[in-house]
Structures are given as C-alpha cells and as structure tokens.
C-alpha cells in the first residue's frame, strides 16, 4: 500500500482499476475493473464496474456500483445504485439508495429512501424516511424505523413539494432484538422487544419479552413465544 500512487480523474475519464492510495473523481469517471484503495471519493457522477475495497468511500452525486463493496466507512450523498453486496462497518446514506444485493453493516443510517432487493443485515439501523421504501428482509440487533421528524434539507424539500410525506416502508420480514417501527407495512415482525409507533400495518408480530402496541397501528395478530 505504501508505494501505491493516487488516481485522480478531473473532468471526464476512465481507469481500468488496480491498487491505489487515494482515488478522487471530480466530474465524471468510470472504473472498469476491480479497485483497491485507501480513500475513494466521488464528486459528480460515475460508474464502477468491478469490486471496490477501500477504507473510506465517499460519494457525493450520482454513482453506480456494479460489483461488491468492502469498506470501513461508506458515505453516500445523492443517488446511488448498487448491483453487488455491500459490506461496511459504518454506512450512511442521504438521498436515494437502490440495491439489488444485500447491505451488511454494523451501523447503518439512511435518510431519504431506499429500495433493496436483498437482505438488510445491520447491528444498528436507523431509518428516517422521506419517501416510500422497500426491502425484502431486515435482520439485526437494534432496528429503528422513523418517519422524518428532524429538520433537515430533505425534510424541508418534502415540506414544500406536493405529495410529500406519504412514505411508508414495505417489508416482508423484520427480525431483531430491539425493534421500533413507524409507518411500516410488514408481513412478519419477530423480536425480543417490539415497540410500535403510529401508522403500521403488520400481519403478524412474534415477540419474546415485551410488545407495545400503538392505537394508530393495525396488527392482525400478536403472539408471545
């Protein structure tokens, strides 16, 4: 790693991949193969066709990842598309996230919305929802799904644009230890301690220790196991 050089794309360009220290794309860039680096930064747009292994990944703008991602710290602002699995210690997304694979992270924070076809596997998950989200499965230790509450840029945008705040999370199964849900439509929710907030529609709740209902939520059946 010590001898590796930097890769910089300013304007428009492409690279075949390889091993680098820092990779910076400002403008529009395309990486055609696997890439390994310390720091990966994108301002603008681009596409990565191979697997990416990096310590920190930061994307501001629009980016498409076709391969697998291994990162310690992953930060994405804007619109991102992933076609491979994501492995990160800490992942934070602001904006819209679309993934056809799995998202694995110790800490995952999403503000905005997402569509994930695979499994969302997280130790700690915090979602602040601004528009409809969809995922097939969520599994983890601490799962918190909230409709937007805090004041932010995306919140402000939603306030002044029409049909705002109709967002809900659509999910098949949620399994975890501590679960808090708002605006969630789920088939099955299983966990140790489950607390519901407003506007949930859940077919089946299975809990181990505690379960808190909410008057504005609809649950078909709740069962202690």
């Amino acid at each position: 790693m010590e001898s590796a050089s930097d890769l910089k794309i300013y304007g428009q360009g492409s690279s075949g991949g390889g091993k680098f220290r820092d990779v910076i794309i400002k403008g529009s860039g395309q990486i055609n193969g696997d890439l390994e680096c310390k720091k990966y930064e994108v301002f603008g747009s681009g596409e990565m066709k191979g697997d990416l292994t990096a310590e920190t990944v930061m994307v501001k703008g629009q980016f498409k990842f076709a391969g697998q991602i291994n990162a310690v710290d992953l930060q994405v602002f804007g619109q991102s598309t992933f076609n491979g699995d994501i492995f990160a210690d800490e992942a934070s997304f602001q904006g819209n996230l679309e993934s056809t694979g799995d998202l694995n992270a110790e800490i995952c924070k999403i503000e905005g919305g997402f569509k994930i076809d695979g499994l969302l596997n997280v130790e700690l998950f915090e979602l602040t929802m601004h528009w409809p989200c969809k995922v097939s499965e969520i599994g983890g230790t601490n799962i918190k799904i909230k409709n937007e509450t805090k004041f932010s840029f995306l919140g402000l945008k939603n306030m002044i644009t029409p049909h705002s705040n109709k967002g809900f999370l659509e999910v098949d199964t949620i399994e975890g230890d501590e679960i808090y849900l708002e605006n969630t439509h789920a088939k099955v929710v299983r966990g140790k301690n489950i607390t519901l907030g407003p506007d949930c529609q859940i077919d089946k709740v299975e809990y181990q220790d505690s379960y808190m209902d909410h008057e504005k939520s609809r649950v078909e059946s709740a069962e202690k196991i």
């Binding site: 992270a105 230790t141 975890g176």
Partner: protein
C-alpha cells in the same frame, strides 16, 4: 446427501441465541451464506439451516468467542486460504501429514521446502483418505489432481469432494457445499470429504 433441516425459530430456541447474534455472525461470515435456505411454508417464506452443521457451528462460536475476537474467529472458520505456509518438517512434526503421503506427493510437487496453504490442504485431504483405507495409491492420484486443478474454481467457497465407485471403477468429483447430487443406483459413494471442515481442522492444528 439430503440433510435434516431446522427452521430459524427452532434454532434460536434450541441454542438460546438471539436474532441479533445470528445476523451478526452471518455478517461476519461465521455462518456461511449457503446455509441460509429459503423455503416456502404455510406462513410464508422461512429460513432453514442444515441442522447438525449449524448447531455444531453455533456451539463452536459460543465456546470460542470469549477467548478471541469475532474477526479472528471468522478467519479461522472461513474457508479462505490463509497466507500460512509450512515446511515438510513442520507438517510431520505437527502430525498433519504422514511421511508416506509426502513421499507420494513428491512426484507432483517435487522437492518442496515450503508448502502453500492450498498444497497443505491437498496433502491433508489425501492423507486422511489414505489413512481411512478407502482409496488406493492410484486412486489417490485422481483425487490429488482433481483437487489441485479445480479447487481454485471455488474461490474460497465451501465445497465437498465425493469419491465413488461403480463396478470396480473409481472416480471423484467436487461440488459446492450443501448442494444436492444424485447418482444412479450402481454407483457407490465411498467417501464425502467436506473441504471447509478439513480446513477448519487444519487451521486449529496449525495455529
């Protein structure tokens, strides 16, 4: 090779672990992806596991996790080839490979000072099969060549090696772990070697 399956719910109840732990271990690759099998049941889709393998693995993790970190545990349990190498003397001293098997491999590997981890696996595999008495000298060549030529194709994924005979003719094949395979009736399966289990054993012996 059909195995008994256990549902996720039963598994958690039996082993006393929580969803959080199970998902954490999956994330750390302590429990291989291939063991999570989705089956449809009357109550929708549910996840099932190969019963004995997964219970064994969870007990192992529970016993060991106090002593070492989850990451190094993952290194030990994952079938990824480690950088570890060993000399002939080490292999014999640590009782990993017998002198006879080493002798046998010399025809292919020549005089080698340091064996790579992949070579060590192949030697260990062969040694085990020779010791069990199931295969003979010439059949060892079959296994040895298959493994050396094709193991890389699995890229660190779990796999199994099956050795079988029909009417006195022997052959072998390799396939991904936990996949179903069916033979016609005349075929007799002599031995199924699970490579990732071998690697686990090896790693414990070597570290």
């Amino acid at each position: 090779m059909s195995q008994e399956l256990i549902s996720k719910k039963e598994l958690l109840k039996m082993t006393g672990i929580s969803y959080g732990q199970l998902y954490r271990w999956k994330r750390k690759k302590l429990i291989p992806e291939e063991w999570f099998k989705k089956n449809s049941t009357y109550s929708g889709k549910e996840t099932f596991f190969p019963k004995y393998k997964v219970i064994d693995r969870i007990e192992k993790i529970k016993n060991m996790k106090g002593d070492i970190s989850l990451d190094s545990l993952a290194d030990m349990l994952s079938p990824d080839l480690t950088e570890k190498t060993a000399s002939e003397k080490e292999l014999i001293d640590r009782n990993i490979v017998s002198e006879a098997t080493l002798e046998f491999s010399r025809e292919d590997y020549g005089e080698t000072k340091e064996y790579s981890f992949e070579q060590i696996i192949s030697l260990y595999l062969l040694d085990k099969m020779f010791k069990s008495g199931i295969i003979g000298h010439s059949e060892g060549k079959l296994v040895f060549h298959l493994f050396n030529n094709k193991y890389q194709k699995f890229k660190g994924k779990n796999c199994e090696l099956i050795f079988f005979r029909k009417m006195g003719v022997s052959s072998c094949c390799m396939l991904p772990d936990s996949k179903e395979i069916y033979f016609e009736e005349g075929v007799k399966i002599m031995e199924i070697m699970n490579i990732s289990e071998l690697i686990e054993e090896l790693k414990i012996k070597m570290f």
